[in-house]
């Protein structure tokens, strides 16, 4: 975890420098291209449209290949034509009017990460439900699953039996689907960031924070359901074994700490997933950026090899972070349920 934080810090600080270096070179070319496009656009009478489209996809900094990759945008990229995969076309997502709740306005227009989350959810549903149906059919026919369904069963059972149930405590079975859904959703969202034209929705603080807040509410509700009125002991420190004066003093000191402890857990979940998913992408892009900075095929070999290695690491991290998020969610639920005993 600390290594991840370190790497992200280092790379965040170095990114703009690399970008700057690249920008010096590419700025002129970009400006020329832009001018040419505008001229063309004017010729066709589409200047406003072209400009608007570019603006719609978010601010574009010449030479900065990292920021657009790790941030959300209003456009999704897709392959324009079969071979020139490095020149994606951009589809501008529809922009809806913000919804006003009192004086608070929420813009619920879909963004790239919304689309990625939706895709992840769709893929998870299709894969798991197909596997579940095959599983049930095979179990009905031969008493055991076969092939793909057996593989999915192994994963589902691993998350259920090794991650969820041992940590959730006694009679924690009803929370197991939540842990499993978390695992598969985060896993697929992580993996979608590794495929071309994909984007890592779990590298967006809004997504990880929402998942962490959902987990927070599940944990607290689990605590209330398991402990009843005893749940208040997890907020207010009131130790009856202590002398009354010390008890009051400890109450005043410890209660805020308990509250901070409660908030720290989802905060840690948020930052852990965000930082880990962002860091790897920045490393890969920074390594690729080196190739363009040095403008040399010979020097390009080493960064390319390293980028491949980091991508493989990312593949592992995608599984690891989904595992850790769901494991910690299970541990937090188990802790607050156990506190009654």
């Amino acid at each position: 975890m600390k290594i991840g934080t370190f790497v992200i810090a280092l790379l965040l600080s170095s990114t703009p420098l690399a970008a700057q270096a690249a920008a010096v070179d590419s700025a002129a070319a970009f400006a020329a291209r832009q001018t040419a496009r505008e001229v063309q656009g004017t010729a066709r009478g589409e200047a406003n449209h072209a400009g608007g489209e570019h603006e719609a996809c978010g601010p574009h900094v010449p030479g900065d290949i990292i920021t657009p990759h790790i941030t959300d945008s209003r456009c999704i990229e897709y392959p324009k034509d079969g071979w020139r995969i490095w020149e994606p076309a951009e589809y501008v997502l529809p922009q809806w009017a913000p919804i006003h709740i009192g004086s608070f306005a929420i813009d619920i227009s879909p963004t790239k990460h919304v689309v990625m989350l939706f895709l992840a959810a769709l893929l998870v549903s299709v894969v798991l439900i197909t596997a579940a149906r095959a599983h049930v059919r095979h179990t009905h026919e031969t008493g055991r699953p076969r092939g793909f369904a057996a593989g999915i069963e192994a994963m589902v059972l691993y998350v259920r039996q090794e991650v969820a149930l041992p940590n959730l405590g006694h009679h924690g079975e009803k929370y197991a689907p939540f842990i499993m859904a978390l695992f598969f959703f985060i896993l697929f969202a992580n993996l979608l960031g590794l495929i071309p034209y994909g984007s890592t929705a779990t590298g967006n603080v809004s997504v990880t924070a929402t998942l962490a807040i959902i987990t927070f509410f599940v944990v607290e509700i689990a605590g209330i359901r398991a402990q009843g009125p005893g749940y208040l002991n997890t907020i207010f420190y009131w130790n009856k074994d202590l002398h009354p004066v010390i008890r009051v003093a400890m109450f005043i000191i410890m209660s805020p700490i308990e509250v901070v402890g409660k908030i720290a857990k989802p905060f840690a979940l948020t930052v852990r997933l965000l930082a880990n998913m962002t860091a790897g992408h920045i490393v890969v892009l920074a390594l690729i950026g080196l190739i363009f900075t040095f403008k040399s095929y010979v020097i390009g070999i080493a960064p390319a090899a390293m980028a491949v290695a980091i991508m493989m690491l990312e593949l592992f991290v995608a599984f690891l972070q989904a595992f850790i998020f769901s494991l910690l969610a299970a541990v937090f639920i188990g802790q607050i349920r156990e506190a009654a005993h």
Partner: protein, 197 residues
Amino acid sequence: MRTLFRSLVITALAAVPALAQEAGASSKVDLLSPNYGLMFWTLIIFAVLFFVLAKFAFGPITKAVEAREQALEDAIESAKRDREEAARLLAEQRAALDATRGEAQKLIADARVAAERVRAELIEQAHTEQTNMLDRARREIEAEKAGAIAQLRREAVDLAIAGAGRVIDRNLDQAANRQLVESFLASVTPAAVSASR
């Protein structure tokens, strides 16, 4: 060490927008400010996904696996029961076999004793019968002998008398006597003699 990391992060985060601006961007790179629309969508998508998966994926898989585990447990349990049952039956059979074998031995011994007794009785009976038959035969022989002796004696007496009669007749008339005796002798048979008496 921690402070170092923290200061690095803060420096980096602080430096990013400034440097990005320097590079010519009009807005800063903001990784940590929440987008409420995205949060809303995350919540909706995850909530829907959770209910869909719980109902259509995890439910059936868990149920099938639990059913399989239950079936396996039942199979193991019933195998254990069957084995115990088999062991019990085997012991029972063995005990029954032992009992039967003892009984058979006893039966054979009894039969042997009975056969011995029957044989002795038969021999005894045969002896007795033999003795009886011998006695009877002896008695009959004695009786026959006595009868034969008596008859022989009577025959002898008759013959002697007949002979004496002829001698007397001859003496009376030599020629005539001789002729008479001879004709008698020619005609006589022991039965005729006894019948003529």
